[in-house]
């Protein structure tokens, strides 16, 4: 829903410091610097992970191993841009394409990058490795080189051309960050390959669609490393508003805007977002921290040209920072301040993704309840079209804002057939509204309500318009069935 304000970084000072460190590590304090050897700064990272099975939330799926590229950064540590660290169990690193594997540890992960910082305890691993310098700014055109280790100890460097610099989202993230789009023919790339130009790292590749290789740009990497160096880590910011463009001159006039004034109109303010209390629906944002916002929702970046305004909230800024906005409200121009905020997926009423934590579920009388999540919906192939329509509406239309009474949607996901639930075996994917007359906005509510059956019965009510409106279990039968159902369906107590 709301266009997530998000961003990239222009943190010149900090990046410059990192570059200096990198150069020192790579070549010592020499005056004439030889170009750094990419082979010494790039390693292979193997991540073995195992996702939960959201259809049977007490069980896990088949483990998978992904092979990624890691960038040596000062510390020394390894920087990797990939969503593969969600639900990871084992991380191994290999240098110079060798077979020998060394265990690594996750020092920091931000799925809203997605970026991860790895530590390797074995000091011998770092022998012969040296950080590569991060570019302060990335090229908006021209050639770059994409580096990675292939299996048989082969180092591959392929040419790619910069197509554009834009605000992009990577992996599961909803934050728009400074992104390099490259035209590349590197096969199977998008696994954190290191993109370099002029001897500096300009990005880490995160995905490939057709010939376009998308990479998180170096300033974002720098901002992440800087954040990691100054705990507590604050992450990337979102503003939590939706807006509309204001190119229509009649609309501008009606709102009382001057033609050259620019601006976008706020159409929604997330109640739990950074803009709550500062911005209102109908406000027109004219400037963000002194930067003019154009009517198409873009701004003029001194280096990269026109970029989407979410970058203004992340480029050089992080959660906790205060930003002044120049707005037009009810015909009056004024300045309001908001404090940027990190918004994690679990802050949504329907979390778009869930990693590093087991699915939340409750089994009662064989009825399997879950919180509605993007992870659950993603179990349908082509899920954005084929998942149950009411659940998709809950996700897309009502999924962003939890309320105190309704922090989550609770669904009856499926039924494990048993004598205790006779008659309900075919029910699935129904949104629960109440149990025993008490409103249910979370699994905690549900569990509490099940502790207070009504006259010996558990009464479950659903959002109307679904397959059924209300069902009833015998409370004593359901309680007695708990162990039998756990045994029959292999659910750990």
């Amino acid at each position: 829903m709301a266009s997530p304000a998000s961003g990239a970084s222009r943190r010149r000072g900090a990046v410059a410091a990192l570059v200096a460190l990198a150069l020192a590590a790579a070549a010592g304090p020499a005056v004439a610097l030889p170009p750094p050897d990419p082979r010494a700064g790039i390693v292979t990272v193997r991540v073995t992970g195992q996702d939960w099975n959201w259809r049977t939330p007490w069980a896990k799926q088949t483990p998978m191993t992904r092979i990624l590229t890691g960038l040596v950064v000062p510390g020394p540590r390894l920087l990797v841009a990939s969503p593969a660290f969600g639900n990871s169990l084992l991380i191994e690193v290999q240098k110079r394409g060798r077979q020998q594997r060394t265990p690594a540890r996750l020092a920091l992960v931000d799925h809203e990058g997605p970026l991860a910082l790895l530590e390797v305890d074995d000091p011998t691993f770092w022998e012969g490795l040296a950080p590569l310098p991060l570019a302060e700014r990335v090229p908006v055109s021209g050639e770059v080189t994409v580096h990675r280790w292939l299996r048989a100890a082969q180092f591959e460097s392929t040419r790619a051309a910069v197509a554009q610099v834009r605000a992009g989202r990577h992996g599961l993230s909803r934050v728009g960050l400074l992104t390099l789009d490259l035209s590349s023919n590197a096969e199977g790339a998008g696994e954190s390959e290191v993109v370099m130009a002029g001897g500096e790292v300009v990005g880490l590749a995160t995905s490939k669609g057709g010939d376009v290789l998308a990479a998180l740009a170096a300033p974002v990497l720098g901002q992440f490393l800087e954040g990691a160096a100054h705990p507590p880590y604050r992450g990337f910011a979102r503003v939590g508003v939706a807006w509309q463009e204001l190119q229509n001159p009649a609309l501008r006039e009606q709102l009382g805007l001057e033609p050259a004034e620019g601006g976008v109109r706020i159409t929604h303010v997330l109640a739990n977002g950074a803009a709550a209390g500062a911005l209102e629906v109908g406000d027109v944002i004219l400037e963000v921290a002194g930067v003019h916002v154009d009517p198409a929702g873009q701004f003029d970046h001194p280096v990269y040209g026109r970029l989407d305004i979410p970058l203004l909230f992340t480029d050089g800024r992080r959660p906790g920072d205060r930003v002044d906005l120049r707005i037009l409200r009810n015909g009056e121009r004024k300045t309001v301040a908001l404090t940027l905020k990190r918004m994690l997926p679990e802050d949504d009423r329907v979390p778009p993704y869930v990693v590093d934590r087991a699915p939340e579920y409750a089994v009662h009388g064989g009825l399997v309840f879950q919180h509605l999540t993007g992870a659950y919906l993603a179990t349908w192939p082509d899920w954005m079209r084929r998942a149950p329509p009411r659940l998709l509406i809950a996700y897309d239309r009502d999924g962003a804002e939890p309320t105190p009474e309704q922090p989550r949607f609770v669904i009856l996901a499926s039924v494990l057939p048993d004598a205790a639930n006779l008659g309900y075996q075919d029910l699935r994917d129904l949104i629960v509204t109440a149990v025993n007359g008490e409103k249910v906005g979370s699994l905690d509510d549900l569990r509490r309500a099940f502790e207070r059956p009504r006259a010996g019965f558990q009464v479950i009510e659903f959002l109307p318009g679904q397959a059924t409106g209300r069902i009833v279990l015998d409370a004593a039968e359901a309680a007695q069935a708990a162990e039998r159902i756990r045994d029959a369906y292999g659910i750990a107590p």
């Binding site: 509309q244 229509n248 609309l251 109109r265 159409t267 329509p389 205790a420 008659g423 109307p464 409106g469």
Partner: protein
């Protein structure tokens, strides 16, 4: 022919060969285009079958003659076709009555008599013109089962159907299904991929249609309005306090404006309708068949009384209500023969939300169409029953012109207000626009979309030019 002889031998009297009463129907049709509502699709033609009944009327399927511009009837013994007109059509049960005004048409043709509901195992013959052809084709089959099933023509209605293994192919549609020399049904739909499974509309549904027409007007089937949960759960039956061995289904909710509204309440258990007990799985025994209890409501004419026995407050209660039809459900059906309603103003094209509009997203529209539109169409009535009769107005398209070229919002957009007036239907747009004396027309949309504004004087000036440029014959389709 041999099979026909076998069937005839089964009848006591010598029944005449029905094939002389079966005709080929050739229809030239043109459908309205819901994505460009002032336009019609190119003409195509379909073939179907029909048969003569008493009164000089021809019975066929509604889907054979839907959106017809010309209907030609061919007798198998004559080369020249007759022109027919539609006397009545019922899209909700896929039946139609045609009439040929030329008195020569029926000469020597014997009307077929209607029989009764066949039973599973009965041998039936289907007559018709599969894939067209000059000669009537007949195939024999067995009645496999009688059940309630969806009628694909309207998309939302379910009535009694009979499944048979007699081949029912395109062109058979509208042809009679005969048992013991009498018509027991009208062939109407198959199942793609299931060759030995054809369906026909059984005679009770045909009779319901014909009886409905006796007053010269088609009213349709009553809508019970019952949203129920089956009582297969012993725990649920106990919770309702039902005596052991009791049947019935529990009422979750009642649709506004429906037959049982104001009479039956949520929590009631429907024990019997017109004295026929309802089983815990929601079926009734009708002859040898198990069909849904809705069949009993279905067989009522609008205005007829319906007796409902419910379990309420720990005892049986006998209630009576009058069969009613919910008119707003028309927007949930596939539409035929009706022009889409629309309004074009300064290049903004507005339409009411209905199933045809959603179908422009393709077969998978519940997942593919705009989520807001799907919610309004499928769920709003249940979640906000007080708004059940609201007609949702959608800005479906913008015909680009200098006057609107800077409008950046992308259709489809649900229109909430125009010039401050909340819309409860497409017709509300006209006074909202024409009554505005302000400098701007202000359109406010639902959800996160926002608003758009047109300069009123410029929009008024551009309006006729846009109609002309885009070849729109009328600014309004209603």
């Amino acid at each position: 022919m041999i099979l026909a002889a076998v069937a005839l031998a089964g009848a006591a009297a010598v029944a005449p060969d029905p094939s002389g009463s079966v005709v080929l129907i050739q229809v030239y049709r043109s459908r309205y285009d819901w994505s460009i509502p002032w336009r019609m699709e190119p003409v195509d033609s379909v073939l179907g079958s029909g048969f003569l009944i008493e009164g000089g009327r021809l019975v066929t399927n509604a889907h054979v003659i839907s959106d017809a511009r010309e209907i030609l009837i061919r007798r198998r013994d004559q080369a020249n076709p007759y022109v027919a007109r539609v006397e009545a059509v019922a899209h909700d049960c896929d039946l139609a009555v045609l009439r040929v005004d030329d008195p020569a048409f029926t000469a020597g043709m014997r009307p077929l008599a209607l029989g009764s509901l066949p039973r599973a195992g009965n041998r039936v013959l289907t007559y018709g013109f599969p894939l067209g052809g000059q000669e009537v084709s007949s195939t024999a089959g067995i009645v496999s089962r009688v059940e309630s099933r969806g009628y694909v023509h309207s998309g939302i209605d379910a009535h009694l159907v009979v499944q048979t293994d007699a081949a029912i192919n395109p062109g058979n549609s509208g042809g009679p299904v005969v048992h013991d020399g009498r018509v027991v049904g009208v062939a109407f739909q198959g199942f793609p991929g299931f060759d030995n499974m054809g369906f026909f509309i059984p005679v009770p549904v045909v009779r319901h249609f014909l009886r409905d027409l006796e007053d010269g007007r088609y009213d349709g089937f009553p809508d019970s309005g019952l949203r129920t949960t089956r009582l297969l759960s012993p725990a649920y039956r106990r919770e309702r306090g039902l005596p052991p061995g009791s049947g019935g289904v529990v009422v979750d909710d009642v649709a506004p404006g429906a037959t049982v509204e104001g009479v039956v309440r949520p929590g009631d258990v429907i024990l019997a309708l017109d004295g026929v007990p309802v089983e815990t799985d929601g079926t009734i025994r009708d002859g040898g068949a198990h069909v849904t209890f809705e069949h009993l409501v279905d067989m009522k004419q609008i205005g007829e009384p319906l007796h409902v026995k419910v379990w309420r407050d720990g005892r049986e209660q006998d209630l009576v209500t009058t069969s009613r039809h919910i008119a707003r459900l028309e927007t949930s059906r596939n539409r035929y023969g009706v022009a889409p309603r629309y309004l074009v103003y300064a290049g903004l094209v507005f339409m009411p939300l209905d199933r045809e509009l959603l179908k422009t997203y393709g077969r998978g529209w519940p997942g593919a169409a705009d989520r807001g539109l799907v919610w309004h169409h499928l769920y709003r009535e249940y979640e906000q029953p007080e708004t059940a009769d609201r007609e949702v107005v959608v800005l479906i398209r913008i015909l680009r012109h200098a006057v609107n070229s800077q409008v950046t919002l992308n259709p489809p957009l649900v229109v909430e207000k125009v010039n401050g007036v909340t819309l409860n239907g497409l017709a509300d747009l006209v006074p909202a626009l024409s009554g505005n004396t302000g400098r701007f027309h202000i359109f406010e949309f639902e959800g996160l979309a926002g608003m758009e504004v047109l300069d009123r004087a410029q929009a008024d000036a551009a309006h006729p030019e846009i109609l002309r440029q885009y070849g729109i014959p009328r600014e309004r389709g209603f």
